[in-house]
Symmetry: none
């Protein structure tokens, strides 16, 4: 076998393992994923994984890294310098939605949260979130009827608001952001109400 072909084989088997790992990590999360299941999914022996990856953690890091790279590449906004910001943002949203729709397993690895989640807890969690969404939607529709806000898709607004909330805890908790709450709350609300159009 030529050295070229050998390397291709080597690369191909790595790829095989990574593909299997994406699927398994996606449906089990890191801790519930078993090396044996990944090997089985890849159709190879358990020990073979260790020929290509140092450890479970290493494998996961590569899976996560590649998945995120694929995701970020799919956003592809840097190549579109001629577009307006509006168009760029629209494109980001569009690419994101399409990526998620077309790569559910990759998406799960990239955005996965709370790994344990036995069925009871999952249901409870889901209900709580739905309740929050229902509450928000109700308030939004009332405000729309009252003419306080213009006609928009309430679900889209829900996404914007809950999204900002979800994005807002990490810098505070992990990066020790300690700015002024009043100003930030005001600025966020201002953007949502007045828009950013120049």
């Amino acid at each position: 076998m030529s050295r070229m072909r050998e390397m291709d084989d080597k690369k191909a088997k790595r790829e095989l393992i990574l593909d299997a790992a994406v699927r398994v990590f996606s449906r089990r999360g890191y801790h519930e994923a078993r090396m044996e299941e990944i090997a089985l999914e890849a159709g190879i022996g358990k020990g073979t994984i260790y020929e290509y990856f140092d450890s479970k953690l290493t494998l996961f890091q590569e899976v996560l890294g590649r998945s995120r790279d694929i995701y970020y590449n799919s956003l592809a906004i840097e190549n579109e310098n001629s577009l307006s910001l509006r168009e760029k943002i629209r494109l980001v949203f569009l690419s994101h939605i399409r990526f998620c729709q077309e790569n559910k397993e990759l998406t799960r690895v990239v955005f996965w949260d709370t790994e344990i989640m036995d069925e009871e807890l999952k249901a409870w969690s889901y209900e709580k979130r739905k309740e929050k969404e229902r509450m928000l939607s109700e308030v939004i529709e009332k405000a729309m009827e009252a003419g306080e806000i213009r006609g928009i898709n309430p679900y889209a607004l829900t996404l914007v608001i809950t999204g900002a909330l979800g994005a807002l805890w990490l810098p505070i908790v992990l990066e020790e952001w300690s700015g002024d709450a009043e100003s930030l709350a005001g600025e966020l609300t201002d953007i949502i109400f007045e828009g950013i159009k120049g």
Copy 2:
């Protein structure tokens, strides 16, 4: 000891364990948390936890449930029916930020994602996110200079956009949302640019 006092003690010890558990689950995540560490943190013996909670999962469920309840109660928007939507949204943002600032450990339990996160991976993850933010900020500032958008806090806009993105994968992947990508992307962009004011 009076029966009254006894019950207080019983309750107090439960509370003691829950407090310790919040701290340990917060800094380790569910799987990396060790029952022994929780006991140590609470200043009690390993077996004592099992006098108050059936299992590790049960304990975590209570910690998560209580943390979320505290969080949702802190938002407290239902009692403020007289306020305008604008004011309500501002209040939600404000409460959220203040809660996160004042209850970092609780926050971590409530919003925690991807539990493994050894230091290397955490750093890598952080860098990737920062890069995304920098990129966005740059684009935003350019658009602001060009007069395409009005003068706003770029970081606030970053939060709105990345937040919406972060909120957008779960319904697609877990709830099998399969609406039209084009319309949703358009509506989201529209909200951000035009605002929602009536």
Copy 3:
């Protein structure tokens, strides 16, 4: 309270614990029995058992010892020296069957071959059995000398009798056999004396 009364109380509580222990050991066996269940059954606190018994093993040893004493006393063949061997054997069978029928819990403790058997207990158990065999052998040899029975290996007869006794508790206690004690004792004795030859 008088010293006399105190000692009665002390004795009464020991008795209370032993009674509870017989019931629990009988239905659970040694290893599955929980000290807490014994305390509950006795209507006292868990710690109180340790005021009267050094350990679970000690408690079991006393329960086993007393149960066996009660059993052996119920056989009561030594006081009946005037009887013929045939009548003695019939009486042993009869007493055994009646004891089993009337003391199912005690019976279970006595005959349930528990695996614990620390060295001390094993020795005690062994000695008790040997004593029973010696007694039987003596009686047999006397009867043989007296010409009441023909020349046989006394040990073999001991095996047949103690064997039948050992085989006789399980159907009574576990399968709720409730036939007529007199007839069965008679039939067994008859077989042993007359043989089964046609």
Copy 4:
């Protein structure tokens, strides 16, 4: 390694574990037996046992089941239909004594009335005993019809025979009795057939 050899190895290791388990269960009983001790006895690692058996209980069940099968097969009286009842009974005693003498550890596992006995095992155990009794009763009744033995209660005879068998293992295994199997079997049969009457 050839697939044939592999399977032999796999089987051999199972056998290795089962052998070690017989020894350890025999000298410790179920509850006092430690998985680590079994592994040590087998000269393998603790985890290896779990490659071949699901749990400690499963392992014990197989040990007990196999031991009993070996014992029951050793009795082998069903193939000897031409023999008289007297000869059959003598053979049962003989086989039993020889089995106990030659398989002390197996014997201990078979006759040591362990308290574990989960429901499945209990049912299995009960069924096996009932089967033994049925077989004996059948043989007895046939012999009675044929006039080989006189009219007696077959159940009583069953008790005498199984009782003697049950009484016969302990002196052999624990007290290292090493008398002549032929004579003892003969003497027991003689007592049962001829009776002891002078």
